[in-house]
């Protein structure tokens, strides 16, 4: 019991939880924006890879950290644009297009990395984002030290949650995005462009996903590895449902996931292997499933999700 208390009472634990959650926050926000507009983006896993690779490579080639962040976002936006073209303009299956985008973004990233750096025998490194203290906030008791260990990208993720929530619920743009994901006809009948809104949402959402990848190579670590995204994108798809498509709950879900992961890592390190390690690793997935089952009936999902819209056709 003491062990558990010690873990939860340590600021380092909460710092780790927030750190682990950061890429998920980016990803889940991105997926949420896409889905709110009615487009499922299973390209997320590949877009993470693309963001991780593009951002890192840009910095490695001399672009500067924020330059890298921008490049990562652009890479994500580009794949988002492709997804939008396939699903919004051509109305192709969102599942398949998404999986295709994941395949394309992943392989294109690996190929680019290897073609650009053919002769490396150990992963080259960059100088990543460093933790910074935000005056005032970092002085808070307990939370302060947890926040103090975070880099600017984590701060950016937290600020983005607020921005996305504000835009979705407080602005005409958010209204339109929520409407287009529920019933595109409502948007069209009010003179707005269904396609424009959806393409915009997918592009912006994908850019955010790419930032999740960029965080991995530019803040959580300082090099790009093949396979390092390791399913984080898929987790975001689950978290969106868990969050009932709401930014606040998405943050909560990501933090819970981060806390759980941080907790299981510590438990394994402190009390050793009482049960097979995989049991711990399974827990976040099983808990997500449980949460889904519990909230499913109440969840108020975008009704037009997965449905293509073609102007001048009966729906």
């Amino acid at each position: 019991m003491d062990v558990l208390l010690d873990i939860f009472a340590s600021a380092n634990f909460w710092a780790a939880a927030i750190r682990i959650a950061t890429p998920l926050i980016f990803g889940v926000l991105g997926a949420l924006i896409c889905e709110r507009a009615g487009v499922l983006n299973l390209g997320i896993e590949g877009i993470f890879v693309a963001g991780a690779m593009a951002g890192w490579l840009a910095v490695y080639l001399g672009a500067g950290l924020w330059g890298g962040v921008l490049i990562a976002a652009l890479a994500g936006a580009l794949f988002g644009l492709l997804h939008a073209f396939l699903t919004v303009i051509l109305g192709l299956s969102q599942h398949v297009s998404g999986i295709g985008i994941t395949l394309l973004a992943t392989s294109a990233s690996y190929f680019t990395y290897r073609t650009t750096l053919p002769d490396v025998s150990s992963p080259p490194r960059i100088a990543p984002f460093q933790p910074i203290a935000v005056p005032g906030l970092s002085d808070l008791p307990f939370i302060g030290p947890a926040l103090f260990q975070q880099t600017l990208l984590t701060w950016l993720a937290l600020v983005l949650v607020a921005i996305v929530a504000f835009v979705l619920y407080r602005t005409p743009l958010g209204l339109a995005i929520r409407a287009v994901g529920d019933n595109p006809a409502s948007v069209e009948a009010q003179g707005l462009s269904v396609r424009g809104l959806r393409i915009g949402a997918v592009v912006i959402g994908s850019a955010l996903m790419a930032l999740g990848g960029a965080f991995l190579t530019m803040s959580a670590f300082d090099a790009f590895f093949f396979g390092m995204v390791n399913g984080r994108g898929w987790i975001c798809i689950a978290l969106v449902v868990f969050a009932s498509w709401q930014p606040g709950k998405a943050l909560l879900g990501a933090l819970l996931f981060g806390a759980f992961d941080a907790f299981q890592i510590r438990l394994q390190a402190e009390i050793g292997q009482v049960v097979p390690g995989q049991v711990f690793l399974m827990m976040p997935y099983l808990l997500s499933i449980l949460a889904l089952v519990l909230v499913a009936r109440k969840a108020d999902y975008p009704r037009a999700l997965l449905q293509p819209w073609t102007k001048g056709q009966r729906h």
């Binding site: 150990s122 490194r125 390092m228 992961d261 402190e270 390690g277």
Partner: protein
């Protein structure tokens, strides 16, 4: 006569520590003009046999790779191409006439780095982060632990596997957790662990490759694997027709120069270095043998 053509098939990207040691040795041999080197990386075990056959059909002299996940098919391919020499990482014995095996037996320097760590730790807690609990990881961890315990019976170890070969952020988080729990030295089997050590201002022990330059003031000592003795020997054997189906694993032993310990004498301190060097000498003169234990290591508390 043409230089012999050598093909390597890696199940991982060539930056991965393990593969990089052999890949670099092969690239060096090619640079010296001794061989013609081609390779495929990140080949899944499902595709492995096909790739082996494709290279075999191209008419190569020597194939280097990893049979761990494809022991039986690899041997079948070798049997189908008796004119080609196979040098494969494997946990099973070699097969006549052309299937030689090896593994990274760097448990000896691992033991030595354990001595350094055991003498150096102040909290008597050492954190160890690995990828998967497979034999070639396990044996290094056990040797390291044995080395540490030989000089400091009070040391406890916490062991975690991150269930991935390439997830440095996760390895780093796992290492952080160990530091938070009191470890003051980290055994860095994976990329990411030394980063955590450096960030928290503690020490790390390197494995397979020397990363001291990347983490100034952090890496106490590393157990290095050198692919060159084995690769060069195999190339020579192929060239003069004396390649045989034997276990090339011994070329990883310190005796053959296949592995070594590198230590930062300033960080480690004279006493620790001296203790390690003493054991190193007795390993080299054959008076001391490091035990090989492939079972999964667990935390000791």
């Amino acid at each position: 006569q043409d230089v012999p053509k050598v093909a390597a098939i890696w199940t991982v990207p060539v930056e991965q520590q393990w593969a990089s040691r052999l890949h670099n040795a092969l690239v060096a041999a090619e640079d010296r003009g001794e061989i013609d080197y081609v390779y495929s990386e990140n080949i899944t075990n499902t595709d492995y046999e096909r790739v082996m056959r494709e290279y075999a059909e191209q008419g190569i002299a020597l194939m280097v790779g990893e049979a761990f996940g494809v022991e039986q098919p690899a041997r079948t391919v070798a049997a189908d191409y008796p004119e080609i020499s196979f040098l494969m990482g494997s946990s099973l014995p070699p097969v006549e006439p052309n299937f030689a095996t090896f593994d990274n037996f760097i448990h000896e320097p691992s033991y030595l780095t354990g001595i350094i760590a055991g003498m150096k730790t102040e909290t008597d807690q050492i954190g160890m982060v690995g990828g998967y609990a497979i034999p070639e990881v396990n044996r290094l961890m056990h040797a390291f632990m044995a080395g540490a315990l030989s000089v400091n019976p009070d040391v406890t170890f916490s062991v975690s596997f991150i269930n991935s070969w390439y997830d440095p952020p996760k390895a780093k988080e796992t290492a952080f957790a160990m530091v938070d729990a009191g470890a003051d030295i980290l055994y860095a089997e994976r990329f990411g662990v030394s980063d955590a050590a450096k960030e928290r201002g503690i020490f790390a022990i390197g494995n397979v490759i020397d990363t001291a330059a990347d983490y100034p003031g952090t890496i106490l000592a590393s157990a290095l694997w050198h692919g060159e003795p084995m690769i060069d020997q195999a190339i020579a054997d192929v060239k003069n027709g004396s390649f045989e189906a034997k276990d090339y694993g011994i070329y990883a032993f310190m005796e053959y120069g296949g592995s070594s310990m590198v230590v930062d004498e300033e960080l480690a301190g004279a006493a620790a270095v001296e203790a390690a060097k003493a054991v190193e000498a007795s390993i080299l003169d054959g008076s001391f043998t490091v035990e090989i234990n492939d079972s999964e290591p667990t935390s000791t508390q």
